[in-house]
Symmetry: D3
Subunit: 68 residues, 6 copies
Amino acid sequence: MPLINIKITNDGVTKEQKQQLIEGATQLMVDVLNKNPATTMVIIDEVDTDNWGIGTRQVTDLRKESGS
Amino acid sequence: MPLINIKITNDGVTKEQKQQLIEGATQLMVDVLNKNPATTMVIIDEVDTDNWGIGTRQVTDLRKESGS
Amino acid sequence: MPLINIKITNDGVTKEQKQQLIEGATQLMVDVLNKNPATTMVIIDEVDTDNWGIGTRQVTDLRKESGS
Amino acid sequence: MPLINIKITNDGVTKEQKQQLIEGATQLMVDVLNKNPATTMVIIDEVDTDNWGIGTRQVTDLRKESGS
Amino acid sequence: MPLINIKITNDGVTKEQKQQLIEGATQLMVDVLNKNPATTMVIIDEVDTDNWGIGTRQVTDLRKESGS
Amino acid sequence: MPLINIKITNDGVTKEQKQQLIEGATQLMVDVLNKNPATTMVIIDEVDTDNWGIGTRQVTDLRKESGS
């Protein structure tokens, strides 16, 4: 029954990577809490880098400056 | 003042269906809790089927297999 | 698979009322979107009235003033 | 470490306005709670006006009627 | 109509500080986006330091080590 | 920068288990998406079983019936 919500920036995450996130997060619930994987839900939110800020700065701008 | 957040897969839900969800969720707060409908908010999030997993699987793949 | 999150103030909502909210929200997904009730989840968050504001005011204070 | 989530309707909010929201929300944590701005995160969600309801009505329709 | 959710650790934040957070977050919506304060909602979640992690560590332990 | 929110029922999850959830969720972001663990946040919400429903039923009642 656990519910995991993963928020990441929208950087071209592939369908395969999303599948890995879903599997890994579900397995974590099994390993640590002995939860039933069949009823574990994972929802991934992809957030535009203009819409995410840390340390008062937009991620868009932080990345430009760091060249990454 | 209640706030209802509905998360569903993005399957071509129509504007009319969304209106029905908003009305129904608001009425539920009135019927069960005697809340004021005027200040009840409903927010609907439509999630890509690649981004939603249950039972370790992406909904995209579960639907392919079930033919639905 | 829908997920409904209901946020309400913590005003002594009973177990029976919560059951009614869960049933009603699930039925709404069935009626409007033809969703499977077996995999529909509802999570209710009860929020302290000091922690909820509307119109710049805490609900705690709004209620004192209105006498309700 | 605070985390602020701002949900607004998707009305052409500019990158500059989003930057102002991020700065303002972060500064609020510093001013009121003496939090460290470097680890304060802000995430902005822009919601379609069909997907947001208040008083049983979609914001899309409320705006049409009010002419705004 | 904006909705602001503030998540902070549960460190004895006072009712007055919560009122300041509600006022400040609402005013930010007015100043930056010209929103109506009367329908702006703010919800504050206080999270136990055992339940919040950053950099793989619980905030409870990070604070012990830093002596803060 | 990823943010992971884990919602589970409040069943006496220990501080050590929470630490394992935080580490595991953070490591998943490193392994799959090459994210920086230092800025990855995890927040765990523990939900009362009266407040969580699946298949129209409260988890409290589902557990009584299953004897688990």
